[in-house]
Symmetry: C2
Subunit: 256 residues, 2 copies
């Protein structure tokens, strides 16, 4: 039974896509059947895996609005155990188009029921907002992974995010829980970074992953080559950190 993780934070630029792409790649490298779903209209996870959004005919939009079975939407990637359901331009209209529909918040959940058993992990890369695409992801997920950048503004949105998670858990998905808080772009030379880390650990306790992702320029170079970090530079600090995170996620072994 596949474990579905939504990678969520309405604050922009905190490392959601970088985490989705690289955690998925590291899980696949450990021979775990993994599916990455790009539900962000920007489509960064799609291009981060080297897929040209412009040539993508079908995307997750078709599962949400055109009743296409999600199994038909999965495409292969450079890694054998990793598949992708891409994003494309159509997705930018999805939120407005879905407002009037029946069960508008649970459409992704119903779609994933059909394919959940085919993978060990399903990761969903969310846009920087708490709109219908993110709510659909929370309704479909078993658990949430929350990347938090080690900066002041990134702390601000936490209570709003937890409120939305609580609301989804109450109304749409009673099993939803917070799998882990991931500290990203941590910079040992910057005192602010350390202060934010302390604050996050105080607020979230043992929900914070032992792995912290350091600021590492190789992580921001890799998308330009359409490669996850383990294929772009497998020996850098960024690749090591995401391998470490994949181990933590694999070992967290909640019973589903």
């Amino acid at each position: 039974m596949g474990r579905v993780f939504a990678i969520v934070n309405q604050k922009g630029g905190v490392g959601k896509t970088t985490t989705a792409v690289n955690l998925a790649a590291c899980l696949a490298a450990e021979k775990k059947g993994t599916l990455l779903i790009d539900i962000d209209p920007q489509g960064n996870a799609t291009s981060g895996l080297g897929v040209d959004k412009g040539t993508v005919e079908h995307s997750i939009y078709d599962a949400l609005l055109n009743h296409l079975p999600p199994g038909n939407l999965c495409i292969s990637t450079q890694l054998p155990c990793l598949e992708l359901i891409p994003s494309n331009r159509q997705l930018s209209g999805a939120e407005v188009e879905m407002v009037e529909l029946e069960q508008r918040e649970s459409r992704l959940r119903f779609a994933l029921e059909k394919i959940k058993d085919g993978y060990e992990f399903i990761l969903i890369d969310c846009p920087p907002s708490l709109g219908l695409l993110t709510v659909n992801s929370l309704a479909a997920a078993d658990a949430v992974i929350v990347p938090i950048q080690c900066e002041y503004y990134a702390l601000e949105g936490m209570s709003q995010l937890l409120e939305v998670i609580r609301r989804v858990k109450r109304n749409l998905n009673p099993y939803l829980r917070v799998e882990g808080i991931l500290l990203t772009m941590a910079d040992g030379r910057v005192s602010l970074s350390g202060q934010v880390v302390d604050e996050v650990k105080r607020f979230f306790g043992d929900k914070v992953y032992g792995t912290t992702i350091p600021r590492n320029v190789r992580l921001s170079e890799a998308p330009g080559f359409g490669k996850p970090i383990i294929l772009y530079d497998g020996f850098c600090a960024g690749a090591e950190a995401y391998r470490q995170l994949a181990k933590e996620v694999m070992n967290s072994g909640h019973v589903y």
Copy 2:
């Protein structure tokens, strides 16, 4: 007649709020009557100016949905010539609530007609999306300032953003134009940064501001103290760059 600038980019974390807060502060320091509007439900511009979102009774939400005159929503800040219309929690429901309303895309435009003459500059800090709040800002604006982070993913969304600007110009606001492209978080030590800068200059030509904002940790520390950079550390590279930008904006003198 106040010039209205929307600060827009659907890519998250590229420096929209940092630019809105610090450009507004530098314009005010030059004795230009300036209003900053925070239309992002995250409310980072509000707290970046030291205002507690939790105690804010009325926000821009009230001008969009409750017909409150925007003049009643302006609050003073630490700088004499700078006022703020804050954001608060209510704003996170605004996009869904506005979908059914008449003239849903032009509500901010109508609201600002009443106060535009009271300021020399009005800046609108937008959320990281192209939804109704951003479209309202584009419909209300004379021009758009687009911060672009010097990283690969930040380049990807440019064509989508330009498409939305064209659409708003065609259907809602024929005077809308791109005032300038601002390169942010430029890091001279990183080769990727230089490549992105070249690419942006090739794509946008003379629309790119001469001023580039360097990556400068003081800019990310200042919000923790609720201060714009010129009040937190007026001599750092970040403060100097935003003063420079303010001069460019003041001198661009388009006829409105």
